[in-house]
Amino acid sequence: MGPLIPNGVIPVEWDSIIAILIGIAFGFVLEASGFSSSRKLAGVFYGYDFAVLKVFFTAALVAVIGVYYMDYLGYLDVSQLYVHPTYLWGAIIGGVIMGVGFVAGGFCPGTSLCAVAIGKIDAMVYVGGIMVGVLIFSELYTFFEPIYEGYFYGNITLEDSLGINPYWFVFIFSIIAIVAFVISDMVSKKQKKIFY
């Protein structure tokens, strides 16, 4: 049956509307759980608040377990899902740049917009910085193009590249997540309490 839109259960024309609704819900939950605070986001790097790690790890886990159960029961076809294409070096370099920006600015692109919405000035500066970055990238596109378009590996998943059984991977992944949560709790207990 699923995914709903590619199989025509929901007409394609609805996808922007659905995207807006999901976006609003996502933004609301981000803001409500305090993710529009750069201190909370940066906390994961300084070891006093691991909410980001826990939330995103849990989200990934719940989603992946849910998707594979739905696939097993025949409600969703995993092979039809969108898999983001891998441009190896583009992803690595981009990831490093984004990581530096994350530590320095205390936002990721999504949460920065969330913080702009509630009127945080640092977030506005951050978004301005993103725009400048976009401008520089587009102006120097011909220079970056070989990296941006190169090292293309197709729409691969860990299942393809490691040849691992997805069910076992999900199981191992959830154990890693739980271990990470326990360790992060231990780290944040040792850290001096910071109020923010």
């Binding site: 377990i65 199981f171 959830s174």
Partner: protein, 220 residues
């Protein structure tokens, strides 16, 4: 009291949630695996196969062709050479091995037209029908007896003997008329036909709307 108990349980809430996640993930590993079927259920396929509704007779097909019924498309599942040699008017050639190609699917998996599959006998057409039916394609039929029966009933109908019932004679005259439509000339009409210019059915252009089935796209 009750509140205290709840509070006690809630103290372990993260451990409980972690345990649920691990259990669910472990469940995925332990679940018995099964071969997934693409398309309709085997039981459904079986009942469709047994039903003779999938057949269309040569008489019905000739009637549809003569009245230029626009609601169906003919698909020849024989190889290309046989198709070049002879085929029904306005038939599209999709050899059996190319049946499930992306281009062919546009003709088969749609709800605009009825599809009539045919081959020399209905043997290959039946195979094609089963492949299509299993994938859940709708409105697919098979020409019973295929081109061979088409020849013996429509193109060259057998004259009934004198002792046969009147219906046979009616059927014969209908088939004879149909064969004339498809270009057969009978001796008793040879003189009349001479002056007539042969009217050829215009080549029908069949456009099939592609079913919208896009690959999922997008991302973060």
């Amino acid at each position: 009291m009750v509140k205290n108990k709840i509070a006690k349980v809630l103290n372990f809430r993260y451990i409980i949630l972690a345990a649920i996640l691990i259990l669910l993930a472990g469940g995925l590993v332990l679940l018995p695996k099964y071969q997934k079927h693409e398309g309709i259920k085997p039981q459904e396929l079986l009942s469709n196969v047994i039903s003779s509704e999938r057949y269309i007779t040569t008489d019905k097909l000739s009637e549809k062709l003569i009245y230029r019924d626009p609601s169906f498309i003919l698909i020849d599942v024989r190889d290309e050479k046989s198709y070049e040699n002879y085929s029904l008017p306005n038939a599209i050639n999709i050899p059996l091995e190319k049946l499930l190609d992306e281009d062919s699917r546009a003709y088969l998996n749609q709800s605009q037209f009825d599809v009539v599959l045919f081959s020399n006998d209905h043997f290959y057409a039946d195979q094609a029908w089963i492949l299509c039916d299993r994938l859940g394609f709708k409105n697919i039929r098979v020409l019973k007896g295929g081109l061979n029966l088409w020849f013996t009933t429509i193109i060259n109908p057998e004259e009934p003997s004198q002792s046969m019932p009147a219906e046979e004679f009616d059927l014969y005259s209908t088939r004879k008329a149909a064969s004339m439509y498809f270009g057969v000339v009978y001796p008793e009409q040879a003189q009349m036909v001479e002056s007539e210019t042969k009217i050829e059915a215009p080549k029908r252009v069949i456009t099939v709307q592609k079913k919208k089935k896009r690959a999922a796209e997008g991302g973060c």
